[in-house]
Symmetry: C2
Subunit: 322 residues, 2 copies
Amino acid sequence: MPNQITLLIKKYQDIINRGLEEIPIPGFPNSLYEPLVYSLHTQGKRIRPILTLMVGEGFGVPIEKLLPAALALETLHTYTLVHDDIMDNDDLRRGRPTVHKKWDVNTAILSGDAINTLAFRLLMDTDSPNLQRMGKLFTEGMLEICEGQALDMEFEHRIDVTVEEYMTMVTKKTAVLLALSCKIGGLIADCDENTLMALENFAIKTGQAFQIQDDLLEILSDEEAMGKSLGSDFAAGKKTYPMLLALSGMNKKEQKEFLTFLKNNSNIIKIRERFLKSGSIDKAGRTVNELITESKENLKGCPSQVRDSLLALLEFLQKRKS
Amino acid sequence: MPNQITLLIKKYQDIINRGLEEIPIPGFPNSLYEPLVYSLHTQGKRIRPILTLMVGEGFGVPIEKLLPAALALETLHTYTLVHDDIMDNDDLRRGRPTVHKKWDVNTAILSGDAINTLAFRLLMDTDSPNLQRMGKLFTEGMLEICEGQALDMEFEHRIDVTVEEYMTMVTKKTAVLLALSCKIGGLIADCDENTLMALENFAIKTGQAFQIQDDLLEILSDEEAMGKSLGSDFAAGKKTYPMLLALSGMNKKEQKEFLTFLKNNSNIIKIRERFLKSGSIDKAGRTVNELITESKENLKGCPSQVRDSLLALLEFLQKRKS
């Protein structure tokens, strides 16, 4: 039976999904807009726009005033997925073929560009005296996301990535967009600077925590729940938090042996055993808990309606299995 | 010896090139920002930002108030070139290797995304009560450019493209950005709706004229002046105005023979002869002149300073050989 948190999240998801469906999309040319609609009308968790709505609504702004910006954030996220999937050569996204697999690379580049443009267009539909600042923040966040993806690609070809470098990368690639989602909600609500800073810090720590949790799921979850094959990322040189943590506790010889093992094994059961033995799974789990505690700290000064809904979202995220 | 028009254009180009060099670019990560700088600091004609500056300055706005938006338009143009070059698999751009050739496709996708973001960022640096409207126009223009590129790619695989369809494509792919450049200048100057409309129509006709002139240069110019090899586009199925015009005057059998000829000949001298014989070169030249006349008509109601500089730019463009 669904509990209150699930119902709350579902309420927001329905609003966002309806909003996404109601965005006016020109039909012509079909080769541009069919993949755009395919990407936008999916079954995502909608975490980013939910953050915007929760923050804005918590500070008393009506949903309809927040919705265009909230949709802009989901749309921005969608565009990064379409382009990242090309760069990472991923075949599946949420259990369906990626755009460049279903169509081709050119179609994915161009429809990604159109989705990106649509994101900015939606943001510009927001009526707020803070629009210029929101526009600047939005683009600064977008640039950081590009930086994060660039670092992620660089790291694939390096074997000496540190845990700190990894945290910089995931902060840019994932956490910054959550922070942007919260701050845009806060700016529409005309929050003061201290509140905006607290919201940003909350979101950054949350993003870091859930990226590490994602990395853990890649090792501990089963393939069916994740909707994709596991293990192959390690062979491709993809860095994850537990992996870098394990490496950091080894000498050169052990590191070499561990990397060779990952390169030659795509069996997730064997990989899981090795990780558990290294102790990095436990340690990463503790880091997740610490980050979530820090994340919550930032909400102390927020009105209870904002705090309660953000904490509920945090709990929802902690329970997810994929 | 340079004449007055050349000096005027040079003045604006210098302002724009200096402006582009002074955009603060983060250095890290290098894999993202090196190709971004490579693409932005080139020797372009800077037609789009010149339009913004000419219009705005002509209506009495100081250059420094116009510059961020002008740079946004050049940056937007640059991003479309980086991504189009991937899609069209072009090796050279302004005599230098394209980003995806000098680096790789992933680098070109991602740095193109960052350049796109930078364009929005620069636009948001504009202080104007019309900023929201400018933001909406900007994104609407960008979407049309994507539509134009989608049509261009579709047309490569079709043999029944009409002259009208071709004009729709080039209007979206090229002319719309010129119109946007003029209108943004006009909006910063707080022009009335009639003036904005006149500027838009001027730019659309200009864009159409110069796209057809480009197509003619592809046939009539020499390879050195163009900085690229000619003739190969025809073999690849690329549609041009003179080509569609020639086809429209032929019966089915003649069309088939002509297309087979283009497919099997990449010798530009032979191609040129066939085009001259078909009469489509003369006819396309007449269309260019008609469009330029229509274009000029729209400037009648503009203040003389705006009209004079835009007419000078038009003359400059008409004289170009590449």
